[in-house]
Symmetry: C4
Subunit: 237 residues, 4 copies
């Protein structure tokens, strides 16, 4: 099984994302097992805001729980398994229905970085249309490896992929980074929609170089907001 510190970080990530409004009763966050990179850690099927260390299970890259302990599994665990399989550099994944991002998945307005905190959006934010891989009559869920692989193929160099009529996936090189990105993607979506209205469509976004440089800078200070979010979600512990 995984290192206890990593499991605790993953529990904190579940609670933080719930406390910050990125996930509600649905959504999930996983991490590639640091001690065995062909495995990943993910809670059993439950609301992220209620997850404890005892609820974290280990999965292989086909989405099988090694020891499910009789727990129900997330139907959409293939989001995680297929992305980890296709992208060795990805170490953590958030899937959510983060509210402000939903409108960008069902319109043609591209999500772009409005400020430095969300500069990672500068790598582009593609939309995954499940009708292309699953046809016009799915239940919208990534409920098998094939749909997971189709989603994974949309990532490219991006940090975020929108899922039309469903939600989004955020990927990162660590639990702290993926939580940071999930939170600031939500903030960016809200502020970008507001700015587009205020400027009647004319908004001065970060350019490509600004976005790349700000991202490198942010990656060095991920622990600063993490400490605050953890305190807010979990108390003094």
């Amino acid at each position: 099984m995984a290192d206890q510190a990593q499991i605790e970080d993953l529990v904190a990530a579940n609670r933080i994302l719930s406390d910050q409004g990125v996930v509600d009763g649905f959504g999930h966050v996983s991490a590639r097992n640091e001690t065995n990179t062909t495995r990943f850690l993910l809670a059993c099927s439950m609301a992220p805001g209620l997850v404890t260390a005892d609820d974290i299970l280990e999965f292989d890259l086909n989405g099988n729980a090694l020891d499910p302990c009789g727990r129900t599994l997330y139907v959409e665990r293939f989001i995680h398994s297929e992305i980890y399989k296709a992208h060795p550099e990805i170490k953590a994944i958030v899937h959510s229905h983060s509210p402000s991002i939903i409108p960008f998945g069902v319109t043609t307005v591209p999500l772009q970085p409005i400020y430095h905190m969300s500069s990672f959006l500068g790598a582009g934010v593609p939309i995954f249309e499940i009708r292309e891989a699953g046809g016009p009559a799915t239940d919208m869920l990534i409920r098998n490896p094939e749909l997971g692989a189709a989603l994974a193929a949309r990532i490219g160099k991006s940090a975020v992929v929108l899922m039309r009529g469903h939600g989004n996936v955020v990927i990162g090189a660590s639990i702290q980074q993926v939580v940071f990105r999930a939170i600031y993607t939500e903030v960016n979506a809200k502020l970008q929609a507001e700015a587009l209205r205020l400027g009647q469509g004319e908004v001065n976004f970060l350019n490509t170089e600004e976005a790349a440089k700000a991202t490198a800078t942010n990656n060095a200070v991920l622990s600063r907001p993490w400490a605050l979010w953890k305190r807010q979600a979990l108390g003094q512990g």
Copy 2:
């Protein structure tokens, strides 16, 4: 009287809907009595956020409280009695002034499912105009069986009916389902309004088949968000 577990679920529903902002000092939630389907359970006249098991009364399908215990009754209990009378398959009802839904009741923009969580809206969301049944000078309330019956007649196959200048009614096959639908109708209204502005009227909604399939899927996981909402509204209990 009803089963104690059902009463406790109905108390939890009252508190959850208040905690989630679907109801404020007004609004109510009822359930058809599982042990006698010609009766239903509803609190006496009070804010849902303050309801306890002692405040739950039993009513017949004419809206009479079997033993009112000296309590004041909701003027609009006929919303519940007439819907239960006309629709045997309906087991639970929420009436609220859920804020984001109000604008959809006073304009001609149809509420449609923007994502899978609110896929039950795919069955259509009619508007009840009280002027048709009650004339141009009512106090807007469903204060007698005739108005209740007129409202019940608008439901058809829908899960939600909007009440112009007043609020909405959500129906379900269980307490957990009706609470789920009431909460996600509010979320959908907020996100749909935002998406219509962002897309300048062009929004890619779920199609009919996607909506139907996602609804079937959601019905299997109603207990997941319920556990979170209950914890948030009632604490550890």
Copy 3:
């Protein structure tokens, strides 16, 4: 001095309006003294959210504190004194910078009742332009009896008067009623702005008769939300 129960209701009103976001560090609520109708009760100069019974002072209808106990007085106490002087039927007044209402004071869009809870707006909502009474270079405050009288003269049959670039005044026949109106004016402003955008300016408001009848109905149930708001603001007490 006033009846202790009235003072306690006024303290509750201060706390409720703060808890509900109608007032922030600024704003105030007063009540005509029930035992001497030529006097009114108002806190000394402080944030409403911090007011206790010891902070409530008694004033005459010229805005003089009978026994200020060394406390600083609200500069704008003349809002209250002049309205009570001009309108004997008014028993309670809220002055606030309630956020969603501010835009309606600086544009020409009339505030209208979008649903039955805010039906009292059907009597019309005039705007007080301080430049008419005070000239083009005031500090925006009702800092003397003359400005207070000019504001009082704008009330007519209305329940709410907007103050351009400043806030609003809500009047009522009781503390519970004025708090109800202050809260639902804020809600109405938020929902009306949203509905106007959604309907591209076309909104089906309550008509005059619906508004009048709904107001009479609401006046009979003011204690229902009051109990909830009091619990939320003051705890179990």
Copy 4:
């Protein structure tokens, strides 16, 4: 080192700005040392919501910490050092990514005072474009004295300067004043955007004289909201 009371006020400012949503995990607030005006006080690199008295460091006007105690410093401390150097009358500074203000930094719509609480905006709100001083490929941060000096040169008589794609700087004559201004700039941005939509671009702002007089009035009551904000952020202490 500085007076203990000033340090406690600066800690309170950190907590208040976090509690009020002006800062999140990022942002900072400083004060010129009252006992040595060539020095200023600023926390080490951490989320403002977690700052205690032990985290406050003293800096000279070149941005050097006199005794860093092994702590990491904010990269952007030069915002503070260069503004204090260039403007002797400035005693306190907030730098934040206050959300509602971000859209005004990336569009051409000027921030203007919509009501008396934000009247200090009447002195004008310039935008700092980092591309002018730093070129087209910075990481957006004020990471050296030269960029700090360029930012300081934009202040003029203004209380607020927007930073395109980044955030804003608010300056004041005291800790209480700068916190007041930072909070009401956020409120103003939110309400102004709303009013511009409601009025389709036509909004009746405070005129120059109203703004100046209201600002003088507000400066006399800064302790009123401060007491509330402190209670909300720090509890009864």
